[in-house]
Amino acid sequence: MQQRTIITIGFVVLFYGAVPAAFGSTDYVISSIVAALTIAGTAVAWALLGNLGGMVSFGHAAFFGVGAYVSALLTMNAGWPVFAAIIAGGAGASIASVAIMPALRLRGPYFALAVLAYAGIFRILATEMEGITRGAAGLLSIPRLPTILGFDLGTNIGSYYVILTIVLAAMAAYAWIRRSEIGFALLAMHETEDATRILGVPSTRLKAMMLVLSAFITGIVGAFNAHHISFLDPDYAFSGVWTVLPIVAAIFGGFRTVSGPFIGALAIYLLDQFVFKSLLPTGHQIILGAALGTMILLSPDGLVPLLGRGLGKKRHAAT
């Protein structure tokens, strides 16, 4: 427990202090880290549903896009303040997730692909509902994050603090649920679902809660991204990228741990942008696909447990 606290504090100091100090003056590095954290936030939400809910989703782009559109439209048409709109974006994604609930009855692969179909439907709806979303033309010049206490959050470094806080809050919520009774019930559930049902655990309701929470986090992240990039169109808001990269990140980092998706997202995105891209200018995504496949074959629980196992062994040897 104590060790965990030290790690957590070190982590917070590193990300709130050292990273901005080191890269704060180079806009493009910070903006790449912001993009990586956007993936991280979605990856945490995806892993929460995957690990606690036992549900693999191939359509988190649906929640990302709904959150982005709700927030952008509330600020542009109804004059909402940006932060209130971002929260509403999360709520909007949660409401959208209710439409997917009937699919919770389905077995794993069917659920995964049913969500994919939802993402496709949302993209088409966003294109067709021109009166509200402006269709394929998209939304340009979406209001940026505001200035608070003289600190402009619309800058790259400001956005960095905002998305970092969002992601860490999501991770904290994830960690808290995992250690709570609900978390135990959920984890027990995918060992033997029938057994927990007999013990009186309402499995579908718990799964539904995880779906709503996962959608909420993803919606918030999508809304943040809309105000950060200040642009949306249906293809971008519901792009397969928002599904693929979080899955790769979560699997790579290890989706059964809280920190895995976070570390996986930073590693994958930054390696991709700063290393793979210069090695292979065209088609460098090939490396992402290969990394995903390799990880599933060699260590289905990801990088973090793999490293943890290594460390664990040493620690045991020392005592």
């Binding site: 069917y110 659920f111 599933i296």
Partner: protein, 291 residues
């Protein structure tokens, strides 16, 4: 109005034949191994690209390129199988993620090899009209591959139900241990079903190359279409695949004719979700998909 509807249904039926070709391989592997091969669309696309290279560099017709495509696609299909067989636990979900990754690798390999340019056959023969009774219009490619599709569905069904190998495949899928006791080597039969899936993907790829245009991102869309059809059909129902594919084809064509072209995909997806939620065993199947 009547003429428009008639042509829509005819186009839909022919498109359904092509969709069935795309979906059959996925449905077969799903039925026999309980694995959804999310790289299946990329296999179809690969066959099309091999035909393209053969046409450009060897100056041979896409039809004559079938053996070449078949070799390449079968090799890749077996490679997919070998990798899949290394998955030890949670096979259903891990195989989904593995094949998803393989799909990304294949898409980008095709991008590297064949670039992002749009390709299609330059042989105009395939696009000439084949008109039925002065009212129903189609291209030669569509008619040919519709017939090919019927033959392959019948052949596959016959193979699975009548031949020893086919029965072995079904035996392994329903009870692997019992099949082993009966002297069936499950690995051989699983490789066999992947090879047959490769064969089906090859024909689908040639139909694609002669009838439509191709570019690297298309593979993913094909996989989704194939999965939707497999769900509509219901697990393990080969004739169901043909019927499901035609249902999707007709629904799309009618949507284009009477509602709006941009809602074409929406119609297919709504149909898919409706069937998934209301009749999870599929329109023509028996299995269960509930958790």
């Amino acid at each position: 109005m009547f003429e428009l509807g008639l042509q829509a249904i005819y186009s839909g039926v022919l498109t359904g034949g092509y969709y069935a070709l795309v979906a059959l391989g996925l449905a077969l592997v799903f039925g026999t191994m309980r694995v959804i091969n999310l790289a299946h669309g990329e296999l179809v696309l690969l066959a099309a690209y091999v035909a393209y290279s053969a046409e450009v560099h060897l100056a041979i017709s896409p039809i004559a390129a079938i053996p070449l495509s078949l070799v390449v696609v079968s090799l890749v299909a077996v490679l997919v199988y070998v990798l899949l067989s290394h998955i030890t636990r949670d096979r259903e979900l891990n195989s989904l993620i593995l094949t998803y990754g393989l799909g990304i690798v294949l898409t980008n390999l095709m991008l590297l090899i064949w670039s992002a340019d749009i390709r299609s056959t330059t042989a105009t023969w395939f696009q000439e009209g084949a008109v039925l009774g002065d009212t129903l219009y189609s291209s030669r490619s569509e008619v040919i591959f519709f017939l090919v599709s019927l033959v392959l569905v019948a052949g596959l069904w016959f193979w699975l139900t009548r031949s020893w190998h086919g029965r072995a495949v079904r035996a392994v899928s329903s009870n692997r241990d019992a099949a082993m006791l009966m002297g069936v080597n499950p690995r051989t039969t699983e490789v066999l079903s992947f090879l047959v899936a490769g064969l089906l993907a090859t024909f689908a790829g040639i139909a694609l190359y002669t009838g439509k245009t191709i570019d690297p991102p298309l593979g993913h869309a094909l996989t989704i279409k194939a999965f939707i059809i497999t769900v509509l059909a219901g697990m393990g129902s080969i004739p169901g695949v043909l019927l499901g594919a035609m249902l999707i084809g007709i629904t799309e064509a009618l949507t284009i004719s009477f509602v709006s072209t941009s809602l074409q995909d929406l119609a297919g997806m709504v149909l898919f979700l409706a069937v998934l939620l209301l009749r999870p065993q599929g329109l023509f199947g028996f299995g269960t998909r509930r958790g």
